[in-house]
């Protein structure tokens, strides 16, 4: 299964409820248990948090799905909901209807957000590596008399053989440009056959 499969079963997920209102908590606990979630009071093991947006509750230290329980729709309260990055919300007074939706959206929206963060990180690393890739291409063109396209193809093929990214390989190549390190990172004699 890929990371893009929508999750619809939440059996065993541990939920932390930060809500003083007893009737509301009772509805929430009852419905979450029907959905197969487990209620926890330990923030360290919680996998989803339901928090009262009307109270000043500290956001959990870890990045986990948050569901805001909203009573007052005042901008000061709603601003906190946005800043804490709640991925779903429920309006008070709480009723059974809507709770499955909140759990469903919170987990899946949070997962999508994490995937996007990972993609962003990969893009950032690639962008950072641009300068060093250009350097490596220029070096290969100068040393081996290749065109820019040929040099990039060489770089790509070699980094694939090493199973590292083009950026990482280019950085190694540039760092080692004065030493005897050769393309592909293999001993020179092993490569003599297919090298000019």
């Amino acid at each position: 299964m890929t990371g893009h499969v929508t999750r619809s079963n939440f059996r065993g997920a541990r939920a932390l409820i930060q809500l003083r209102d007893e009737a509301g908590s009772a509805v929430l606990v009852r419905t979450l248990e029907r959905l197969g979630l487990q209620i926890t009071t330990d923030p360290a093991e919680a996998e989803i948090v339901f928090f009262d947006a009307d109270e000043d509750v500290a956001a959990p230290a870890r990045d986990i799905p948050l569901v805001a329980l909203i009573g007052s729709e005042a901008p000061s309260r709603l601003g906190r909901v946005v800043r804490q990055r709640a991925s779903a919300w429920l309006m008070k007074p709480l009723r059974a209807t809507g709770i499955f939706t909140a759990v469903f959206v919170a987990f899946n929206e949070h997962a999508a957000r994490q995937r996007e963060a990972q993609e962003r990180e990969a893009l950032r690393r690639r962008a950072e590596g641009r300068r060093v890739v250009v350097k490596a291409i220029l070096q290969l063109m100068a040393k081996q008399g290749l065109s820019d396209d040929e040099a990039y193809r060489e770089l790509r093929a070699a980094s694939m053989r090493r199973r590292i990214s083009v950026e990482e390989f280019a950085a190694e190549l540039v760092a080692a440009s004065t030493s005897s390190m050769r393309l592909g990172g293999q001993p020179p004699q092993a490569r003599n056959n297919n090298q000019t």
Partner: protein, 358 residues
């Protein structure tokens, strides 16, 4: 549904040990959602009722739910449905998805069915059942060869039928509703015959909702189709024999009772028993008594899960006959606990606890 409910009302009125009888107030919303809200307001607000048996479609149930919440009243919902709901103001006496589509998928997998073609009415019932079926098939090496939806009431299905013949699935999962479904059964049988195919054997159509009254409406092409249901009129039990005798005596021209008629009959009897146990018709007292209710339903002994207010029921697979009834070809060895959110559904298929009965 109305007939099933009224049969139970009559039985309770005739039962001297009950000590009470239901006075029936009636609203006919004619299938229009806006009439449902007005009807619910009339029954709950103006007439001050606490218990209402009714609603067939999910959209009508969702429409009236806020009215029931506002008046702290109970809706006794006697229809199989797609699940994913546990309202505090509803008691569900029809089958949840783990009692209709899941047993059907397991039965088909056990028979070697892997590749499905799905055709349905463009509505929540079809979407959700198809999602569940696709999910179970996908996790067990099967696949969906095609999936088509048509507007409610659409009867022009030739294009889809050609597509089915070209893709040659192991079975066709039908979630069409009403006239669309009947038209499909007729046209598909005819097209298969023209192509020299034995439709029930080579391209079986399976449904979660096909019931006896619908077989009568399909006509000549009504035989050889599989249906997953907790009730068939052909169940052999003492309780069903009594139910059938009363049904046929009261409604001699109505044909066979459907699963929804039986679920309505169950709803009224369960309500009556809860009132007897609680010695009160007040909603909180009735809800508190629900856990102790045991009813010998036509389908088998039925009880209510007090936690999600859905019913413990008896899934079966039937194959339709030319005479408008079903041969029961598989049935579970035990009652199935309701699981409206499919929380406890196993992720991979293991041979289900079903036994061949004929």
């Amino acid at each position: 549904m109305f007939r099933g409910a009224m049969l139970a009302v009559d039985e309770i009125a005739a039962d001297r040990s009950c000590g009470f009888a239901f006075a029936v107030h009636e609203v006919e919303p004619q299938g229009r959602n806006e009439n449902y809200i007005a009807g619910a307001r009339q029954l709950l607000q103006r007439e001050g009722l606490a218990h209402v048996v009714g609603c067939y479609t999910s959209s009508s149930r969702k429409e009236v739910l806020p009215v029931f919440e506002k008046h702290d009243a109970l809706l006794w919902y006697p229809s199989h449905y797609e699940g994913f709901e546990t309202s505090e103001n509803i008691v569900y006496t029809g089958a949840a998805p783990n009692q209709h589509v899941v047993p059907l998928a397991h039965y088909l997998l056990a028979q070697g069915g892997r590749n499905a073609f799905m055709v349905g009415s463009n509505y929540i019932w079809a979407w959700e059942n198809n999602r569940i079926m696709r999910d179970i098939l996908g996790r067990n090496g099967g696949q969906v060869l095609g999936e088509r939806y048509v507007p409610l009431g659409e009867c022009e299905l030739d294009e889809i039928i050609e597509l089915i013949l070209r893709s040659r699935p192991d079975f066709i999962f039908n979630t069409l509703i009403g006239e669309s479904s009947y038209s499909f059964f007729r046209a598909f049988r005819e097209r298969c015959a023209a192509a020299g195919l034995d439709q029930p054997a080579e391209l079986p159509v399976v449904s979660c909702s096909l019931a006896e009254p619908e077989l009568a409406l399909i006509g000549a092409a009504c035989d050889g189709h599989l249906s997953s249901s907790v009730y068939f009129s052909s169940i052999r039990s003492e309780a069903n024999a009594r139910f059938l005798a009363a049904w046929k005596a009261t409604y001699p021209a109505a044909g066979e009772p459907s699963a929804d008629a039986e679920a309505s009959y169950i709803a009224v009897h369960v309500l009556a028993q809860a009132i007897r146990l609680a010695q009160s018709a007040e909603v909180p007292a009735v809800l508190a008594a629900l856990k102790d209710v045991r009813f010998q339903a036509p389908q088998g002994p039925v009880s209510i899960n007090p936690d999600n207010r859905h019913s413990f029921l008896w899934p079966r697979i039937g194959r339709s006959r030319a005479d408008g009834t079903f041969d029961i070809i598989h049935e579970g060895s035990s009652v199935v606990e309701p699981d409206p959110y499919l929380v406890w559904e196993p992720l991979t298929f293991s041979p289900p606890a079903l036994k061949v009965v004929s």
